[in-house]
């Protein structure tokens, strides 16, 4: 009978990027998000 060891993978820490951004930039990103689809011919 083999013993199984279950390990929980470490939770990735979210980078605190928004805290470093000026409030205006963070505010601007809340309503509009740009997506680049170059190279995705026929997808849209």
């Amino acid at each position: 009978m083999s013993d199984t060891v279950t390990t929980t993978p470490p939770q990735p820490q979210e980078p605190a990027q928004s805290a470093d951004l000026p409030p205006q930039l963070v505010e601007e990103d809340l309503l509009v998000e740009d997506v680049s689809i170059d190279g995705m011919c026929g997808v849209y």
């Binding site: 309503l31 509009v32 997506v35």
Partner: protein, 96 residues
């Protein structure tokens, strides 16, 4: 092409959707796609979609925001969002 700065918003300008832009309303807001620039943008708020759709009939973007019921405390956010759409070619200034 005018240079947009943080102090010179677009609320007092007459704007309209660029003619090569397709709008697709979604539950979360809308998808805007420009066939000219191949740019895809998400509007993350239905009220912003309402504002964008009212731009063509409103003398200024500010009045379009007012007609859509945008609270005064949120005008700065909408100003920045509209400025971004203008900068990326999804909106353009209206001449008439």
């Amino acid at each position: 092409m005018p240079v947009l700065t943080s102090s010179a918003g677009v609320l007092d300008r007459a704007l309209e959707l660029a003619p090569d832009v397709s709008v697709r309303p979604e539950p979360f807001g809308a998808l805007l796609y420009s066939f000219g620039t191949r740019r895809l943008s998400f509007l993350k708020d239905r009220r912003l979609l309402d504002v964008v759709q009212r731009l063509g009939d409103a003398p200024t973007a500010r009045l379009a925001c007012a007609a859509a019921g945008v609270p005064d405390e949120q005008l700065a956010s909408y100003d920045a969002a509209l400025a971004r759409l203008l900068r990326t070619g999804l909106l353009r200034e209206r001449t008439s």
